[in-house]
Symmetry: C2
Subunit: 376 residues, 2 copies
């Protein structure tokens, strides 16, 4: 892989060139979505013999000037395992899990973060700013340390101490912000602007999406009828789908992409049920699935489009069903995940009950975060 | 890989056949070490194209009747990453880490457990018993759940609640035992005998060692001058060395194998300094490196032999240096490990100071357990 022309960022709607330190934000002129163009392999191809671990085997397909000089901790290439005992308990014979939590910081976010931080270093960013009290915050903090770039992570004032400790462990500054989730985001964006810092904003950052596409590259090696995952901001849902489209053989039948959200915060599910093309306002309630507590998902329109295109389904899950699904998966298969991941486990049961998934179908459940992060 | 004749267990000294439910214990007749003989590839060969994740790519080289029917969670195949910033801080240019904590239950123990539990299921074990309040306990509990075999884990009465929660999360019964560490082990062995249960006893179990050999198979792909790891029972040290010997090309120069122990419990280091061939009695003090708190390592003689054969070094590390090494690695490289793993980081600094390792040497630091298990 040689050094290539660098990627460039532009507004997909009006064509305005975008300063990459703000690549995660909508176009300042027309509020259109920002896209990146780059010279890469059209169809990703893993360099298996290469002395490169994890997702950077697909480096030639990823938007970076030099895919040999990256900020990596060996992320990606997560195992797919069959769930025979959990499947038998639900009358299913062909159910599998992709263990995305077997990752440097314990969640799938590392796929996106390695791209974002590699590119931020490539453009000479001197500071990274993110807003997240969860897996994204811990992931960005770790990769920023790895790159030697200072990071400031903005979190809600009420974030649990254990989560903040995970972020602070690798040396990031943590700033607590009072008020709703939107206030935390606004404070982060404002700080990034005034300090000329790189705003990570993972759910809106096209580099983050490019990283999560590698999930789809890996899944394309298999043949599943269904993929089920939890959705908050939907970065893995959107990136995974696009990656699968890029990697799949021409005319391959792609799996149906399903999602689950907690009943307390299910704006995509609400829109889907009403046949709407964009997320609808909801009344939000507390939930244990903290990773999916996003009331206004910026990529809601794309998520709903993918549901339609892939003949997917969207279900909401009560907290008690999340707890039960986590416990059942842990005791039947030895796999302990955080509550947000257990959403997907309960989601498959719901779609089986609704006859969207049939007992003989080949199903992949995406387990996004480690149970070590949120002890039961 | 076809179904092969099953492995058989015998005393290496007197040849007595051993009932495999007690394969982790010395020979009941002569107290000799138990070995297994099996028909396998002599030199391990990874099936790279295979639809098998992780260490089972080496299934043909592992002792099991049927390496296609195993109890696996996708363990092994951990990344090796360069440590440029940590290395620069210590004047080293070629220092790497193998991230063994990127594993199903967050530690290298999963390499051994997948073998032990696969074999236990193969011989029809109906119950598994282990004594460990740490990573081995959590690993055995998870794989037992995965196999559908009930597990009882014996732990010291004073074990931290967080550790016990990790073991109990996947449904194992936890039994607390008062008294010294040896009393916990004795209670586990006695329970296994009286219930005719399979005693895992990972540090003495030849199947566990066979699993840890895959670490050596993976390291043989690289060319390191030095490997440094923390040692408690030494299962990874012994298994890793043997695996490396099996996998290396004929006449290859093997790396020197070094170890670090906490000053509060360093029986191998004490023996090494005095030129003894077996661990010596020590006065034990509390340490934060809980994974290395083994006063009487059963494989001490082998560990000391490997140190000699490989021209290795053994160093003891004070708790404050462990804490400092953990913090430095986390903030310079974004890698947060548990204190026991940080032993190896501090160990390299000690051997550099002693001129056993030189600044230009190619060094591999083995990071065995996730920081998520023991928040800083």
């Amino acid at each position: 892989m040689a050094v290539r022309p660098p990627p460039t960022a532009r507004c997909d709607r009006c064509g305005r060139p975008i300063d990459e330190v703000q690549v995660a934000l909508p176009c300042p002129d027309c509020a259109g979505p920002v896209g990146i163009s780059f010279d890469s392999e059209t169809r990703p191809n893993a360099r298996r013999g290469a002395r490169v671990d994890g997702l950077w085997r697909y480096g030639a397909a990823l938007p970076l000037r030099d895919p040999n000089d990256v900020v990596s901790l060996g992320e990606g290439d997560t195992p797919v395992v069959r769930l025979p005992r959990w499947g038998a308990a639900h009358g299913m014979r062909n159910v599998f899990a992709k263990l995305e939590y077997i990752a440097p910081t314990g969640s799938f976010k590392d796929r996106g973060t390695t791209l974002v931080v590699s590119r931020a270093r490539e453009i000479g960013a001197r500071e990274l700013i993110e807003d997240s009290s969860g897996n994204a915050g811990a992931s960005v903090a770790a990769y920023a340390a790895r790159a030697g770039i200072p990071a400031i992570i903005f979190v809600p004032a009420g974030a649990p101490a254990a989560k903040i400790a995970q972020i602070a462990a690798t040396g990031a500054d943590v700033v607590r912000v009072e008020g709703p989730r939107e206030a935390v985001r606004d404070a982060a964006i404002e700080a990034a602007r005034s300090r000329n810092a790189y705003y990570v904003g993972h759910n809106g950052n096209p580099y983050f999406e490019a990283g999560t596409q590698t999930f789809g590259f890996e899944v394309a090696r298999w043949h599943f009828g269904h993929v089920m995952m939890p959705v908050g901001g939907g970065s893995l849902f959107v990136g995974g789908w696009r990656g699968l489209q890029r990697a799949a053989a021409p005319r391959a039948i792609l799996p149906r992409f399903h999602l689950a959200q907690p009943t307390g915060c299910a704006p995509i599910v609400a829109a889907w049920r009403r046949g709407m093309g964009r997320p609808v306002p909801i009344e939000r309630h507390p939930t244990i699935a903290g990773g999916a507590e996003i009331e206004h998902p910026a990529r809601g329109v794309e998520i709903l489009r993918i549901l339609t295109a892939s003949h997917g389904g969207a279900v909401d899950i009560h907290d008690d069903a999340i707890v039960a699904a986590r416990h059942e998966l842990a005791t039947l298969e030895g796999i302990d995940v955080e509550p947000t991941s257990a959403l997907a486990v309960a989601g498959v049961i719901a779609l089986l009950r609704d006859a969207v998934i049939r007992s003989e179908d080949r199903v992949l459940i995406v387990l996004t975060g480690s149970g070590l992060k949120v002890p039961a």
